[in-house]
Amino acid sequence: MAEEQKLFKVKIDGITVEVAPGTTILNAARQIGGDIVPPAMCYYSKLQGSGGKCRTCLVKVSKGSEADPRPMPKLVASCRTTVMDGMEVANITSPEVLEARKGVVEFLLLNHPLDCPVCDQAGECHLQDLGYEHGAEATRYEFKRRTFDKVDLGDKIQLHMTRCILCYRCVFTADQVAGNREHGVLGRGEHAEISTYLSKNLSSPFIGNVIDVCPVGALTDKTFRFKNRVWFLKPVNAHRDCDNPKCCGKTVLWMRGDEVFRVTARKDKYGEVEDFICDTCRFDKKEAKDWVIEGPRKIERQSVISANHYVGVNKPKDTLVEVLDGRQPKLLMDIHSISQVNRPNIDLSQIEGPAHSDDFNK
C-alpha cells in the first residue's frame, strides 16, 4: 500500500482546493471548475508534453508557497507550472492577467485570416470563443498576414496552414495516438508550419484524431468540408462495435434528418476528446444504420450549436385528423415540389468531398 500522499493546499481566485503534488495550476483550477479555469489553446490533458506554447493560460502567482511566500516575478503559464503548498493564484481576479490574455489573443490572431464564414470549425472553434471572451474587438495589425496554399494531408484531412496557431497538439496526437508520426512542424519562428514529410501519406488508422484536437480550423474533415454548418446539425451520441481494438467506437454523429454529415469523438467541456476514435468510424460510417444512436448530446446553452434546437418541447396532440373523420388534411404545397435545397434524391452527406457546382446541376 502506497503511503498516503500529503496534499497541497492551493488558493485560486480565493477558492481553496487540495490537490496532489505535481498537479499543474491549470488542473487544480479544473478541479474547482467554473469561471476561474484559465482557457487553454495548446494544453491537452490526454496528450503528454502538450502545453506551454500558446500562453493563453497565463496566471499570476501572488504567493509562491508557504515556505517561500514571495510572488513569482512574472505571469506564469498555468498548464506548465506545478502547484506548491500554500500557493495563491489569481486568474480572473487579477486585471494584469486579463490584460496579458488580451495581448496573447491579439498575438494569436495576428496571422489568423479570420475567414470564419468559410471555415468549417466556426461555431465550435476555441479561438473564436477565446477572442470573444478575452480579446479586443479590433486588430491593430496593419501588415500582410502570412499566407499558405491549402494542403491535403491524405485524402480525408485538409490542412489550412493560414489558420494554424502552432499549438503542436496534432503533432503530439500523431506521435502518441496514431503511433507513427509522419507529419510535424517544419521551420522556426514565423516560418514554422505543419507539414508532412515530402508527400508521405498519413496512413495510421488514428490520424483522423488530429481534426478533433485542432483548436482552430487548421485541420478539418474533408468528407464534411462545406457540407453544412455545425449549428444546423443535430449532435447525437452514438456507438458501434468497431473492429479496431484500440477504438472505443463511442462517437457523436452530427445529423440532419437521417443524414449523418460528420462523425467526431465526444468532447468534454474543455473541448478535449473523451476517447480517441479510429478513421473507419470517423470517415467511412456515414449512414445512420451503421450506428446505435443513444440520444441527443447535451450542448452548452451558450453555444451557437444549441441555437434553434428545440429540446423538451411538448407538442400538443393534433386533433385535426380526428375532427375530419380520419381524413388527412389537404396539403396545399409540398415544399420539395418547388424548393431546390434539401432535395430528397440527393444526399450531400454521401458525396465524397466538398460539393461542387456540377453536383448541384445534376
Binding site: C116, V118, F226, K227, W231, I338, Q340, N342, A355, F360
Partner: protein, 169 residues
Amino acid sequence: MQTLTNRAKPVDRRPMNFLEKMYLPAIGKGMVITFKHIFQKKPTVSYPEEKREFSPVFRGLHILNRDKEGRENCTACGLCAVACPAEAITMEAAERKPGEEHLYREEKYAARYEINMLRCIFCGFCEEACPKDAIYLSETFAPAHYKREGFIYGKQDLLIPLPGEQKNA
C-alpha cells in the same frame, strides 16, 4: 372600480329635452363634420398611379449582393439562417472550382440559397447578421401570387443581375 386611465367619461343618462328630441340640431352638427372632411388633406393615395415613398429604414424584399467585379458576395456561412427567427432561409454550400473565380468571391459559396417569403417576417436580422455584405432588404414588396409556389425565392430571384444582364421576371 379604479379606472385605468383618466380619459373615461361618465355616460349622461338624463332624459332628453325638447330640442334633443327633435334630432335636427344633432343632424346638422353631424353634417358639418362630414362636409369639413371634403376640404381636408386626404391621407390616402390612389395606389397604382400614385406610389407612396418608402421610409429610409423600410425592410422589403431581399436581394443578394455582388462585389465590384460582379462576383457573388455570399459564402453560405449560414449566419442569416441561424439569425432568422422565422426559419425562412435555407442554403446549400459548395466549393469553388478552379475557373469559377470570376463568379464567386471566396472559395466557398452558396450553390443554393432560398428564402421562403411565406415564412419571412421581414425583421432584417439576416441583413444584420451577414458578415459579407451579401444580403440586403430592398425597398420593394414581395409581389402577390395566386399560388404558394411563387413565394419560394431561389438564388436566381434574389441575386442582383449583372450589368447588362436581363433578369427574367
